[in-house]
């Protein structure tokens, strides 16, 4: 799937969910009209966006929180799947954009995709999430399927993990700054807490 098309579908079905993006998905998300409950986690500590999302989901149980990360980011914080499943937030959806590479650094393959090439065994992040105890997991490989499932995955009782197979971007792949982080997080926190 094309990353931008996947994100456009997410943008179309999203209503009042808190939505965190990072790295490549954060770069592309900035092409859409911003929403007050968007938080582009750039600059980030790689692999921590889903953990920020978990904290928000715990603090704001009446809101749906959707955290987006890449497969490289998930590999960097694989234990977060266990942490999330242990907390078991019903209001949490994790979307993993799996392109098999570290896209923003130029497309180097991840250790997980190296395993796929070496022994022909794909690391199943959705299966991993299921084994960890996520309530609902899916791997989605076509845009049609994603368009059919997206709304449900944002509404189902969590924790939900959907792994979306996307093609790596080979042009304009760098991280894009959404602006000054301290000011943005203050504004985001105020929005969350005022209307939460």
């Amino acid at each position: 799937m094309d990353l931008l098309s996947v994100l456009r579908t997410l943008h179309d079905v999203r209503t009042d969910e808190v939505l965190l993006t990072s790295m490549g998905n954060g770069r592309e998300w900035q092409q859409f009209e911003p929403h007050p409950l968007d938080f582009v986690h750039v600059p980030s500590s790689m692999g921590q966006t889903q953990s920020w999302g978990l904290g928000i989901a715990i603090a704001q149980p009446s809101r749906r929180v959707v955290a987006c990360c890449g497969d490289g980011s998930l590999l960097m914080n694989l234990g977060s799947l266990v942490t999330i499943a242990n907390v078991a937030p019903a209001n949490f959806t994790l979307l993993v954009f799996d392109n098999g590479v570290y896209e923003v650094t130029g497309g180097q393959s991840t250790p997980a995709s190296n395993i796929d090439q070496l022994i022909g065994q794909q690391i199943g992040f959705a299966r991993l999430a299921e084994e960890c105890g996520f309530r609902h997991t899916e791997r989605i490989t076509t845009l049609d399927e994603w368009q059919r499932r997206a709304e449900t995955l944002l509404k189902s009782v969590g924790p939900v993990c959907a792994v979306l197979e996307v093609a790596p971007q080979t042009k304009d792949y760098s991280v894009r700054s959404p602006g000054r982080p301290k000011e943005r997080v203050r504004e985001f926190a105020a929005t969350l807490q005022e209307s939460g």
Binding site: T49, S51, W52, G55, G79, S80, T83, P181, V185
Partner: protein
């Protein structure tokens, strides 16, 4: 240094809502008291970097978390705390167990003590060392000062064993 009930009471007194933690042999002894408290939520994470990130989300969402980890976990978690505290300016508070500080013969050759305070300095964290029973009230005092000033802070709690 602290017994479990005393530690929990300190956190309740200052208004902590969530403890995000990886245990060590001292901090872990406080877990049952934290888990029994109706007013505190203990969130266990798998690695210390996660602790700062979960605490960041909690803070942004309006909660009052503390991170409770050993100094070795502080070493592991540097980039996550840098991002939350320095990039985003979040006034997170950490309670760090200072491994073997009170009994340095318990782990011969362990270098945790050599690096703990220089690393806290390097991360520009406002740190209060609590290494005697007389200093125990400084935990609440330091937490309140950091909250009032909107700064991140660390209480570094001396431990007697590994």
């Amino acid at each position: 240094m602290y017994n479990a009930d005393e530690f929990v009471q300190e956190l309740l007194t200052v208004g902590v809502s969530h403890i995000v933690s990886v245990p060590d042999s001292t901090l872990g002894e406080w877990y049952p008291a934290m888990q029994q408290s109706d007013e505190l939520s203990l969130i266990q994470v798998c690695r210390e970097g996660e602790a700062w990130a979960v605490a960041a989300g909690l803070h942004v969402g309006g909660a009052s978390p503390v991170v409770l980890i050993q100094c070795t976990g502080l070493f592991e978690s540097g980039d996550a705390l840098r991002n939350a505290i320095h990039d985003y300016g979040l006034p997170l508070f950490g309670i760090i167990g200072y491994r073997s500080y009170l009994n340095q013969s318990s782990l011969p050759g362990d270098t945790a003590r050599i690096f703990t305070e220089p690393i806290l300095d390097a991360w520009q964290l406002n740190t209060q060392l609590i290494d005697t029973p007389e200093k125990k009230p400084l935990l609440a005092e330091h937490y309140r000062t950091c909250r009032t000033n909107g700064h991140a802070g660390i209480a570094l709690i001396a431990e007697g064993r590994a």
